[in-house]
């Protein structure tokens, strides 16, 4: 996603990225970034909170227009919950990132992709 933003920007299209993985996006480096300190999945606001979603998007549109330098991050003013324990559980043995079926599909797709690459089809 960050790579795509960079590519569009290099080709004359101003971009703004919305995301929840601040370290990954900033390590790559994108022109404009709206960061929500939320679980992976809701980069444009809490589910069913239309006012928050509108405000998050609005911050992004403002950043599109007003950013004066690349690598600008704006942090949204919202907290997912007063209890931050969800952060400790991310990517732990107790909470595998993918469920077993999704893991199986991911591994199968990786194998198929490798096979396609070996034949020069991608």
């Amino acid at each position: 996603m960050s790579l795509a933003a960079r590519y569009l920007e290099e080709n004359g299209i101003p971009t703004v990225v919305f995301g929840c993985a601040r370290d990954i996006v900033e390590y790559c480096g994108v022109p404009r970034f709206i960061f929500s300190d939320f679980p992976l999945g809701n980069p444009t606001g809490r589910p069913y909170d239309l006012d928050m979603q509108r405000e998050v998007l609005s911050l992004g549109l403002d950043l599109l227009v007003n950013a004066t330098a690349p690598g600008t991050t704006v942090v949204t003013p919202y907290e997912w919950s007063a209890d931050h324990s969800w952060k400790d559980k991310v990517l732990t043995k107790e909470q595998p990132f993918l469920d077993p079926e999704a893991t199986r599909k991911w591994l199968a797709r990786k194998e198929a992709y490798r096979a396609l690459k070996a034949t020069g089809k991608i």
Binding site: Y7, L91, R109, I122
Partner: protein
């Protein structure tokens, strides 16, 4: 470790530790650049109220009424019309924090409803006729040489001025 309010999750470190524990020897190399490209908004020469906004997402959207097709390992860029009501869309994304949240509300990761409202209110000129899905790729090469050029091509066809990208 206890997280304070100001401390965000370090996904790069956590992913490295997680997959190392799973037995993967070689850690993933996250993309990193020293330089960041920049196209100043002013270079467009028009206000946002006259700009057409494109949308790109990693949320793997599909129409609710469509049967899921076979899993294409190439995971190429595809597009859907932006005027589909969000309640007719669903995400097929499996890689998100399924313990803490859901992808049930499309506008929490693909803000089509709000973009249409901003267009109706004159804040933006228009929403592009279609939005693009890009896969979260392991391969930087594939993103840069196949996916990103396809998105640019479609955005040029649609005369997109600025782009909103949402990473799920």
């Amino acid at each position: 470790m206890n997280h304070g309010a100001a401390t965000y999750v370090r996904y790069i470190d956590k992913t490295r530790a997680y997959y190392q524990a799973e037995g993967y020897a070689k850690p993933y190399q996250w993309a990193h650049f020293d330089q960041i490209p920049f196209t100043p908004f002013a270079s467009l020469g028009k206000p946002l109220s006259r700009c057409r906004v494109g949308v790109v997402t990693t949320s793997e959207m599909a129409r609710r009424d469509e049967e899921a097709g076979p899993d294409d390992p190439r995971r190429l860029v595809y597009a859907l019309p932006t005027d589909i009501p969000v309640d007719q869309l669903r995400s097929r994304k499996e890689a998100y924090d399924r313990y803490a949240t859901t992808l049930d509300d499309v506008d929490s990761y693909l803000p089509l409803t709000h973009l249409h409202r901003f267009a109706a209110e004159g804040r933006i000129g228009a929403v592009a006729p279609r939005f693009q899905m890009i896969a979260s790729e392991y391969s930087h090469r594939k993103t840069l040489t196949i996916d990103a050029p396809e998105i640019l091509k479609q955005m040029r066809e649609d005369r997109v001025d600025v782009a909103v990208l949402t990473a799920v």
